[in-house]
Amino acid sequence: MGTVPGIKAFAAAIFGGLENPIGILIGGLVIGLLEQLFGIINSNLKEGITFLVILLILALRPTGLMGKKEIEKV
């Protein structure tokens, strides 16, 4: 019970960046809107494409959209 909403909440937190409460708020809004917008096109696509968007964003910004940028020490 509640696994899928839990994963979505985690996704919203990661999306905005974990250290940034405002980012998490925006992340939740963006994810909810994205899901419903994809749901208009085809309801089968909505959850899969939302998570694909999160994957793409994490590929570009590894700490979320508004997370702290860490200086990578190699």
């Binding site: 996704a11 974990l18 959850e47 899969g48 694909l52 994490l58």
Partner: protein, 159 residues
């Protein structure tokens, strides 16, 4: 390169492997119960999936919560090639392995830079995507899955 699972294997561990393999091979011949064979098959399949997880989590220390997604990609590829295109098992299974490996390489691109909870999110997102896709796509048969997958055939073996 030595595989991590073989890093600390001495003669005793090899003997244990051989005994377990012999038991898994021999038990269906002794107990020809379909349910029992299904359980043993699941054991063997899950061992393959766990072997991959062992290399990732045990050897490199990276967390992966979406590992079943890669298992699904390989299994669905092999099953679809066998049922839709009629390819033999010895061709469809390696293609499934290659496609699962490609998906893993693709998943590695976002995983390489992310760490901690962000890495967990990347893997959870992939696992969730694989689950939702398999459940919703008509090609994969939805929650029913794929039925009547032909088994492997050996030349000269009777069926």
């Amino acid at each position: 390169m030595r595989l991590p699972i073989l890093a600390h294997t001495g003669p005793r561990q090899w003997a244990a492997f051989v005994v377990v393999a012999a038991v898994v091979f021999a038990l269906p011949l002794i107990f020809a119960d379909p349910f029992f064979i299904l359980v043993l098959q699941s054991l063997a399949y899950l061992f393959i999936a766990t072997l991959g997880l062992d290399i990732l989590v045990g050897w490199t220390g990276q967390i992966s919560l979406g590992h079943a997604g890669l298992y699904a990609v390989g299994a669905y590829t092999s099953a679809l090639l066998a049922t839709r295109l009629g390819l033999p098992f010895w061709l469809s299974a390696p293609v499934g392995v290659v496609l699962a490996g490609l998906c893993g390489a693709l998943l590695a691109l976002p995983s390489l830079r992310a760490k901690g909870p962000y890495l967990a999110m990347v893997t959870v997102a992939f696992g969730f995507m694989a689950e939702v896709t398999a459940n919703r796509w008509s090609l994969t048969g939805g929650p029913m899955g794929i039925m009547a997958i032909p088994g492997p055939r050996l030349p000269g073996a009777r069926r």
